[in-house]
């Protein structure tokens, strides 16, 4: 069964009375347990797409379905790591990460233990007491990641989750995402501008056209799991997929220049 079903959705915003068409007639089906990477030029409506899947925005036309049911309100089955970090500025790292469990009513000692475990896994041990304003951009992103993972949602939406990280940390976070996914079998949809990252992590790569965004190309990535996030990129199969998608992207961005 498909987990997320987008049936010819469009989204038009009004900006100072002017209509801005962000997404046009986009259809996409994501099966349970798939990992889908979305790539596309800036402003093509990728974040808007995630906002519609999470139920924060309604599509102007078309349907968004989740597990066969139309999404009409906030979709609390998904964990959403937004492009902006959206941490509570008055809470320290530990209390930000444990927030989802706090809301579920998990006792303090238990949720703090769980939070600290994840804080360690995203490499932020020692920073538990720090406020978001005392952290770097990449650290805040990891706090957001830990917070989302802690709630154990069945579907993960990630908007440019690893953009602000250095190469080493990026690899560590890729490994973390894949191992969590292996443990809990979530469905994942993530946005990235990094083609290597997209192929390394995903079972499917989707290329979004420039605005109004629609799907220009999509391709399955049938690299076997478990993947070695560092070395998979040097395999022949990876190279073949990379070249194929790159050719498509090149055309998309070339049109963009003209």
């Amino acid at each position: 069964m498909s987990m997320i079903e987008l049936a010819s959705i469009s989204k038009t915003f009004r900006q100072k009375g002017e209509p801005v068409e962000a997404v046009r007639n986009l259809s996409l089906s994501i099966g349970e347990g798939e990992i889908v990477a979305v790539i596309g030029p800036s402003g093509c409506g990728k974040s808007t797409l995630l906002n519609m899947i999470s139920g924060l925005y309604r599509p102007t036309t078309g349907r968004v379905e989740y597990r066969g049911e139309r999404v009409t309100a906030v979709n609390t089955s998904v964990g959403y790591m937004t492009q902006k970090d959206n941490l509570l500025p008055w809470r320290n790292v530990r209390d930000n990460v444990s927030l989802p469990l706090e809301i579920q009513g998990v006792p303090k000692a238990q949720r703090e233990r769980a939070a600290e475990e994840l804080i360690r896994r995203v490499g932020l041990d020692g920073f538990e007491e720090k406020l978001p304003s005392e952290l770097s951009g990449g650290m805040r992103k990891r706090v957001g990641l830990a917070r989302m993972l802690l709630a154990r949602p069945e579907t993960l939406l990630l908007d440019e989750p690893f953009g602000a990280l250095d190469a080493q940390l990026k690899l560590a976070m890729h490994q973390l995402l894949l191992s969590i996914k292996e443990e809990y079998g979530q469905t994942v949809l993530f946005v990235t501008h990094d083609l290597v990252e997209a192929i390394t992590l995903s079972t499917k790569v989707v290329i979004c056209s420039r605005r109004p965004g629609t799907i220009r190309y999509s391709r399955d990535v049938d690299l076997p799991f478990p993947r070695d996030v560092l070395n998979v990129r040097f395999t022949e199969q990876f190279g073949e997929i990379y070249n194929d998608i790159w050719e498509q992207l090149r055309q998309e961005y070339k049109e963009d220049r003209l």
Binding site: L56, V74, T76, G79, N86, L88, W90, I103
Partner: protein, 276 residues
């Protein structure tokens, strides 16, 4: 920028004294200068009165302090101070809690805030002290009418600050927490209130001196006790020294009340850093 500066509403806050780290003088030195300034002004007042200006209109510091001494020595001033403090605090508490509740309610309900918006602005524009005669009719000559006046002045200031604070909450934060299955109550407690605390406290700070003004004016209009009554009485008897003496006491009260609310605020900030 502080919350009240952004609102630009009702009553503007006095600018905070600059906490300049490069300042050449420490706190105790500054206190010394302040004392010195007060002494100089008092000397000039004493010198001018009876020579440059008629003593009848401006009295003089020695008479004023003599009056203060008499009232303190025979204890007659204390019942008036107590009455005014009681009315101010009671009015402030009632007005502040109603203001916070009203601000939260309207801040969270789009329908009612749109519905009531023009009425609230109209009410806010009224000079609230003009309600004093009405309150005397409704609540009588006792404490209640003064408490009501202090409360109504407090209510609007606290309401507007709370409302703005709630409107100022980052929508994206709310969405993020909504996605975690938070109930409305949880949104209020975990996002909306912590994020508007600074605004609400600014409201309290502006409102407290206004509560004092409300109580004093209430006493001036119809009363037989309180500092407002004492001002009124002294004025009616052409006793300028008495008027200045009461004003001095009211000034001291205002400084103490302000100090108390500053302390409460820093306690709260401390608590917030520790707990949240």
């Amino acid at each position: 920028m502080s919350a009240a500066e952004r609102t630009g509403d009702v009553t503007s806050v006095l600018p905070e004294p600059a906490q300049d780290e490069r300042s050449e003088f420490g706190d105790s030195a500054m206190l010394g200068f302040q004392f010195l300034l007060a002494v100089v002004v008092l000397f000039m007042w004493q010198g001018a009165s009876g020579r440059l200006v008629d003593d009848f209109f401006v009295s003089n510091p020695i008479d004023v302090f003599r009056r203060l001494y008499t009232w303190t020595a025979n204890g007659s001033i204390f019942q008036h101070i107590a009455a005014t403090i009681y009315e101010t605090i009671a009015g402030f508490m009632i007005g502040a809690s109603m203001g916070v509740l009203l601000g939260i309610w309207l801040g969270m309900s789009r329908f009612y805030s749109r519905l009531l918006n023009p009425f609230l602005w109209a009410l806010n524009a009224l000079p609230k002290v003009a309600l004093a005669p009405l309150f005397v009719l409704w609540f009588g000559l006792g404490l209640e009418s003064k408490i009501a006046l202090a409360a109504i002045l407090t209510l609007f200031i606290v309401f507007i600050n709370t409302y703005q604070g709630i409107k100022d909450v980052d929508e994206d934060l709310l969405d993020t927490v909504r996605l975690m299955k938070a109930t409305r109550g949880q949104l209020l407690r975990k996002v909306i209130l912590p994020s508007s605390v600074a605004w609400i406290f600014t409201g309290f700070k502006v409102a407290l001196p206004n509560a004092l003004i409300g109580a004093v004016i209430g006493e001036m209009i119809a009363s037989s006790y309180g500092l407002g009554y004492l001002v009124q009485l002294s004025g009616a008897q052409f006793d300028t020294a008495g008027v200045f003496a009461v004003l001095f006491v009211i000034g001291i009260l205002a400084v103490i009340l302000n100090q108390l609310i500053e302390m409460a605020h820093s306690r709260l900030d401390h608590w917030r850093v520790l707990n949240r």
